[in-house]
């Protein structure tokens, strides 16, 4: 009898494993987050004009100064032209044929706590693996509960189309003096901080997409870390586009006061649709003396189908300003999604001895196009920057690294090291490198290296001869190629990123 039970148990385990394998296989090659939440939405009228800008401002209950700020940006935007310099080809975007504001009807009255949030919304995030219940850990790492609790806590701000649905761990963060809330709320609750810093890193008229964002941003996250505070947990924002024909314009503002530290994570997904959708975000980070910010992104917007239908057009302006001496910023990005990626997270190294780092993996498969990189603007003395970019192209995709390293005449004794490597999988795709290097003093040192190669046949053969399947072997080699960047990610993200790398290359071999 005892023996039989053991056998049953074994059988069950095996069944469990098999089921999981079957599910994994079924989900492979398909965009995992392509489902949509059926929920009643309310929209602003179609298109964008001054009334829409006012309406968004009104829906957020904003003070007049904010409305004026938006209108000023909108007036400027009308004068601007869409940039065409990137190596991106897409049909003309009709800015008047989409919605600029969409929120679930149930969010009309702001829920006071997560318990009041529409269960459908909570279910959405649960399905995405995003914990909106406190004391939970980020999904994807089992057994993490056993590890010391505090270190793994992640506070989440969940943004659904145009509004923030909820933010976790606010009380605990408040006790540490950390402000973490939707930006719509910060505009009302902390107007002095917002007035002081909003638009100070990415000015209203910075570029076409940032200016549009300044006019119509609906929500996003606000973070303030007080002096000499190490944020007690990782902060994260999860962006979900759900509504059809709607653009998402979120704005994130992070302020790290003197001597503080925060690690911030950002994730994003969207349903599968035939029609492309616009996403134009702005992230501004202000870093004061001796403070440090780590900003990690796993961008997994819907990339469009194999024929290039649909997908997110992702035009994002991200910039960190190391305003104080010895300030430090680290951007890490894993870009696997979006039909079009136009994104250059940048560092202004203004303070003496400040440091900027940029680690990037950009994967483009099928008909995806990515034009991404960074800018390192060295203004202060003894500033340091490091760029490690890994671009992977497969299918018929085009992947471009575009970057700027600028050494100002006053940035004495500064250093930059740039490495951008491209990997091509298949002979129908493209990999491009467009770096700009401007050196205006001689005590600084700039080194730039770039290589382009294909997946090494010997490495593949080695894996294959040990019984590893072809797709898995490619994923292994690619993960090795990306190692330096994956290592720069927080652990939870690194695991997600690693599997994303494999999934987004599905179907590219053979």
């Amino acid at each position: 009898m005892a023996r039989k039970m053991t056998e049953t148990a074994e059988l069950e385990i095996r069944e469990g494993v098999d089921r999981e394998t079957v599910e994994t296989v079924q989900s492979m090659g398909a965009y995992k987050y392509g489902w949509e939440t059926e929920i009643e939405m309310e929209y602003a009228p179609l298109g964008v004009n001054e009334d829409i800008v006012r309406l968004i401002s009104e829906k957020n209950g904003e003070p007049d100064w904010m409305t004026d700020w938006r209108l000023k940006a909108f007036a400027r935007w009308k004068e601007m032209e869409e940039p065409r310099w990137a190596m991106l080809h897409y049909p003309e975007i009709d800015y008047q044929s989409q919605y600029y504001y969409a929120r679930p009807k149930s969010m009309r009255e702001k829920p006071k706590s997560l318990d009041e949030v529409d269960p459908k919304l909570l279910a959405t995030y649960q399905k995405l693996g995003i914990p909106l219940k406190e004391q939970m850990v980020l999904a994807g790492i089992e057994g993490a509960e056993a590890a010391p609790g505090d270190a793994r806590k992640v506070a989440v701000d969940a943004v659904f189309d145009s509004v923030s649905v909820g933010t976790t761990f606010r009380e605990e963060l408040k006790r540490a003096g950390v402000i973490f809330c939707p930006i719509s709320e910060a505009i009302r609750e902390y107007p002095d901080l917002v007035k002081k810093y909003l638009g100070s890193v990415v000015p209203q008229s910075d570029n076409f997409f940032a200016t549009l964002n300044s006019a119509v941003f609906s929500d996003g996250s606000f973070v303030y870390i007080p002096p000499n505070t190490r944020c007690p947990m990782e902060l994260s924002t999860y962006f979900r586009i759900n509504a059809e024909n709607t653009g998402q314009f979120e704005r994130t503002l992070i302020i790290a006061d003197k001597g503080s530290y925060v690690s911030y994570l950002e994730g994003c997904t969207a349903p599968k649709r035939d029609v492309a959708q616009l996403h134009a975000a702005v992230v501004e980070i202000v870093i004061l003396e001796d403070a440090e910010v780590k900003y990690s992104t796993v961008q997994n917007w819907f990339p469009g189908d194999e024929d290039g239908k649909g997908g997110i057009y992702n035009f994002v302006t991200k910039r960190a300003d190391c305003r104080g001496d010895r300030a430090k910023v680290m951007w890490t990005q894993v870009e696997t999604g979006s039909a079009i990626t136009w994104k250059y997270p940048s560092c202004i190294l203004r303070g003496d001895d400040s440091q900027g780092e940029f680690y990037s993996i950009a994967i483009a498969n099928n008909l995806q196009q990515a034009d991404t990189g960074t800018k390192m603007i060295h203004l202060g003395k003894n500033t340091r920057s490091r760029i490690v970019s890994k671009g992977i192209s497969a299918g018929r995709a085009q992947n471009t690294y575009r970057g700027l390293v600028s050494m100002h005449p006053k940035a004495k004794n500064s250093r930059n090291y740039t490495q951008c490597d491209s990997l091509l999988i298949g002979d129908k795709c493209g990999a491009h490198t467009v770096p700009y290097i401007e050196v205006k003093n001689n005590s600084s040192r700039v080194e730039h290296e770039a290589t382009t190669s294909k997946v090494d046949d010997d490495q593949l053969f080695y894996c294959r001869s040990r019984g590893v399947g072809e797709e898995e072997a490619v994923a292994l080699v690619v993960n090795g190629f990306c190692r330096e960047v994956l290592q720069a990610l927080p652990m939870e993200f690194a695991m997600e990123a690693q599997s994303l790398v494999a999934i987004s290359l599905e179907g590219s071999v053979g």
Binding site: K428, V434, I437, E438, N442, E447, H448, A450, T452, S453
Partner: protein, 433 residues
Amino acid sequence: MAAPLRKDDAREAATEARIAALGRPGGGFTAPARTDALARLTAMGLPTRRDEYWRWTDPAAFNAPEPAGGAALRVDKPIFEGRDKVRLVFVDGVFDAAASDNPALAGVEIERLAVADRADIHWAKALYGVLEAEGQAPVARPFAALNTAAATDGLLIRVTGRAAKPLHISYRQGSERSDAVLHHVVRLEPGAELTVLETGTAGARSNLVMEVDLGEGARFHHLRPQGRALDRAMITHLFARVAEGALLKSFTLTANGKLTRNEAVIRIVGDGAVAHVAGAALGDGADGPFLHDDTIFVTHAGVGCESRQVFKKVLKHGARGIFQGKILVRPGAQKTDGYQISQSLLLDDDSQFLAKPELEIYADDVKCSHGSTTGAIDETALFYLRSRGVPRAEATALLVLSFVADAIAEIEDADLASDIVARIEDWLALRQG
């Protein structure tokens, strides 16, 4: 919406003014090519700082209807004097028969463009303005189109065998206001071989185009120490088409000159071909403004080809060095080996190096890399030399020479390379005082 229109109006007006001031030479076999080139120039317009490939170099001096000119003429110490060669001399863009050798070289036909252009039929018709036109995409090169339309003279060189000695095109500047527009066409038949030396300053303002068509297995060596006149403005274009198994090697030395832009547009169309483009630029702002711009575009359209771009710049006293280089690998150009290096040595804190080393790759089985470095002289190396009793100036000179060595290594002929080294040593010696 109004602003950009005005901007285009300004471009159009500048282009019209420039074209109006141009002479209309030619009329023989080049006539259709000149008409087409003028239409191209009108369509693309003259460049401005807002154009991607002119962001770091102000084209105003080339855009002006008349050259600015300048007083400071410096007669160069002759280079390659001791070498056996056939020398052809242009003074302010005008051929000087008296100063030139008899253009007789076995296996090489040499004609003047101004003379040959009286006929309607010529072998060069298939090339004149043709390689230039092909080199206009994807990046516009308006001054090359201008050259095709308005070139007053040049050489038409057809090589059928292996030339026994180099052909030396010697430019001299006599006038402070000369505006030289010269256009050379070189055709190397399959298996042919030629070395072309280009020296000196063609005019107060020079616009030089060389179109080179390399047949299968042909070998073309190009060595160009550009003149040291301080006030000159010079723009050059080298357009080359490289067939199967052919080899092209071009090296340029630039020392001084307030404004130099050297563009090379190399298209490798056959399999197994080799193209190397190299350059060393030495700029000292103490002698007057110095801006040197290398804009290099290498396209791989053949299988198993090799390309190298090796560019070094030594800059001091506010000199500016610019490198814009690109390796473009077309779909199907598998087994490409592409390499590009751009480096600058900033001898003081005022000088600038601006670089855009690009790769654009549409084939997967390739090996392409580029590197770019900028920095001061290596203090450790300097200390080492000084600790062994080498005076500072001499030690610096040694380190500069070792810095440019990789570019000079691209010159195959050892004698010619040593002449180039001697000229660099001269430049350094002048600055040791």
